[in-house]
């Protein structure tokens, strides 16, 4: 792995937050995805973040973040008795994905705030670098 610069650090963190935002969007989009059996119902997704260090920089404190995987929740789906529903199974039950809408909204806000923070870091670093280039002029 090459040495990390501040642009790698914030850029990859933004990519990770973008993945997180995508999973939140998928989860929210599938809130009403009713299914006729417990096996085929949509499973909410969560990204797994992991700190990445550069092996060239040792104990320098410079670290970025990557999404190392997306985990599907194994929470049991919501079982509802609705015998008149076209997708109901033979006992009259339908299955809804176990999605907590408020928790997803909170996640979305947090993701957006952290994305903004990384942009702030990037633009500050960029401004400072440009000023440094023109030093002594």
């Amino acid at each position: 792995m090459k040495a990390l610069t501040i642009f790698d650090v914030s850029g990859r963190a933004m990519a990770a937050q973008q993945v997180r935002l995508n999973t939140v969007a998928s989860n929210l989009a599938n809130v009403m995805s009713i299914s006729g059996s417990a096996d085929t119902v949509y499973k909410p997704m969560k990204p797994v973040f992991e700190t990445q260090y550069s092996n060239l920089q040792g104990n320098s404190g410079i670290a970025t973040v990557d999404t190392v995987g997306i985990q599907a929740s194994d929470a049991p789906p919501e079982k509802r008795y609705e015998p008149n529903h076209p997708l109901a199974d033979k006992d009259g039950y339908i299955y809804a994905p176990p999605i907590d809408q408020s928790a997803e909204m909170v996640d979305m806000l947090e993701t957006s705030r952290q994305y903004q923070n990384n942009i702030e870091v990037l633009s500050t670093a960029k401004t400072l670098m440009l000023k440094t280039i023109s030093v002594g002029k």
Binding site: T5, I6, R12, G61, T132
Partner: protein
Amino acid sequence: MNAIDQYLKQDGTALSLRQKRLDILGSNIANAATPHFKARDIDFASAFKSATNGGDLVKTSSMHIDTGGTADTTDVKYRVPVSPSLDGNTVELHVEQLQFAENATHYEATLQFLNGRIQTLRSALKGE
């Protein structure tokens, strides 16, 4: 070490340490949502001291070699969180943002000092 080098060295060291701290604080902000990540930082005052005059190492013999500390020997410490979170992450965004802003301002200040020194040098060279 020549005179010009000596003249600019202090601001150069400060600038490189500020840059290093900018990277570390940027890393903290990037990892604000990563479980188990421990926020880090450097103590600028002591890092600057050790980078400019070899820290507290006192030469007791004329045979001792000057340590001439560089910015790379900086001790990167772990931050103690005000209120630790359950996922083991010690990044507190308000703290990091504050430190980041402070560091960026100091970076700019150092840059201005350096610019001032260079201007002085130039006018001395031109003899106007």
